[in-house]
């Protein structure tokens, strides 16, 4: 079974040289730490930055320089600032190659719910609805089951939707899965996790074809 770091490391392997990537809050933010050295990747922060760098050294925080999670950050050489209209413009026009974000639920048709739990205080969707509606490639980092052990990979989302038919790939503590027209297609098992465990933890349609390899994470 993977921990958060493991999920982030596995997702980092999906990033290709030359990609522009948008990382959501939470586990997706961690992905930045595991992008292979020497790979040319530019991180987009939807509040208006291309070329996001690591957190600043203590004492070097700049209140004018934050990411979409409102954290203090730095820039890398070649960065550019822009306004929110252009930022979501480039998201809508599919210039961002890969969007990585968290989810509460994903359905086997690619629907995603990650912004609202009825009865609980709603904080808002932020940029998530824009990102999922437009991104050409969306990978979701999420827990396969909730604390009660119930599957979050469902035939149909129960929570209010963030977007429809949009998720392409899911990485959980248990598995890597593609979203296909036929449902979740199991690609890899987490170390020490059996196909049976994944089947038990997946309520949506699950396709298991042939031998399912165990993930390789450095």
């Amino acid at each position: 079974m993977l921990d958060k770091i493991g999920i982030a490391k596995r997702i980092a392997k999906e990033i290709k040289d030359g990609y522009y990537v948008n990382l959501g809050i939470g586990i997706p933010t961690l992905v930045a730490n595991y992008i292979p050295q020497g790979m040319n990747v530019v991180l987009q922060s939807e509040n208006g930055l291309l070329g996001m760098g690591p957190f600043p050294f203590e004492g070097e925080e700049d209140p004018d320089l934050i990411n979409a999670g409102k954290q203090t950050i730095t820039t890398v050489p070649g960065s550019a600032f822009f306004d929110s209209a252009m930022s979501f413009g480039m998201i809508r026009s599919r210039k961002v190659d890969l969007t990585i974000l968290g989810a509460m639920e994903v359905a086997d048709n690619g629907d995603i719910a990650n912004w609202k739990i009825p009865g609980k205080m709603v904080k808002g969707m932020g940029g998530a609805m824009d990102l999922v509606a437009s991104a050409k490639n969306i990978i979701v980092a999420m827990q396969h089951v909730n604390k009660a052990g119930e599957s979050k990979l469902l035939p149909k989302c129960e929570l209010p939707l963030t977007g429809v038919n949009c998720v392409k790939k899911i990485v959980t503590e248990l598995a890597v899965l593609d979203v296909t027209p036929q449902g979740f297609k199991l690609l890899e098992r987490a170390p020490g996790v059996s196909v049976e465990e994944i089947k038990k933890a997946t309520l949506g349609r699950l396709i298991v074809e042939g031998e399912i390899p165990e993930m390789v994470i450095d």
Partner: protein, 235 residues
């Protein structure tokens, strides 16, 4: 042109009860601190505020929530604010949550004289309820879009880094965010700047918001620029 006013009090003096305001900033970054303080002091009430966030309990728009000056918030994300939550749950405060890109683009539409825009954000979700939708071909595939209307705000209040008496504005780093679009979108646009410089000082190629969009400008004072999530690494 000299659009300079003395201070925030003078800049906001004609903002009236039940007005619709746009307020620039993302989180606490790039917010019009001086004007918010002046609005609290003036005590104007029943405001509809279009702003990506609602501040925190004791800073930003949170200050106006505490004094119950806000009737309605139109935002994309309103977490990190206990007073906000209390007023919302008690029904004192109305909230319309819209996607962040939709918020930005509805401002842009107003500033660019486009009555409506199409965006796919929110299709198939509760955001789409009651909205006209329409299919267009995108890269050869039919895709559904929502028609979203340009905002119509009485005042836009923005914060820039530098400005001149013509109202030309330059923003700094990610403090730019919603400020340029809101500056374009207000019927009356008020800009507070960290540094007001003489006309001709700003490089004309580097101006983010041309002065034609700005009606009043002043140099703000005592910027706190509070950091919401201080994250650092060790040397």
């Amino acid at each position: 042109m000299n659009k300079t006013v003395k201070n925030a009090d003078e800049a906001i003096k004609d903002i009236f009860d039940n007005a619709t305001l746009m307020l620039g900033g993302f989180g606490l970054c790039g917010i019009p601190e001086n004007c918010i303080t002046a609005l609290v002091k003036k005590g104007v009430k029943g405001l509809t505020c279009i702003s990506n966030n609602a501040g925190v309990d004791d800073f930003g728009i949170g200050l106006m929530l505490k004094t119950r000056q806000v009737k309605k918030m139109i935002s994309s994300y309103v977490g990190e604010n206990a007073e906000f939550e209390r007023q919302l749950l008690s029904g004192e405060l109305e909230v319309e949550l819209i996607p962040q890109g939709t918020l930005a683009t509805r401002c842009l539409a107003a500033g660019y004289g486009m009555p409506a825009v199409f965006t796919p954000a929110g299709v198939g979700t509760e955001v789409a309820i009651g909205k006209e939708s329409r299919k267009f071909l995108v890269e050869g595939v039919e895709k559904e879009f929502l028609m979203e209307m340009a905002f119509d705000a009485d005042f836009a209040i923005v914060k820039a880094w530098k400005g001149d008496p013509h109202g030309n504005l330059i923003f700094r780093e990610t403090a730019r965010n919603f400020n340029p679009m809101m500056a374009m979108a207000g019927k009356i646009t008020i800009a507070e700047v960290e540094e007001l410089v003489p006309a001709g000082t700003l490089e004309p190629d580097q101006i983010h918001t041309p002065g034609i969009y700005v009606h009043r400008i002043f140099q703000g004072a005592n910027y706190e620029k509070r950091i919401e999530q201080r994250t650092v690494r060790k040397k």
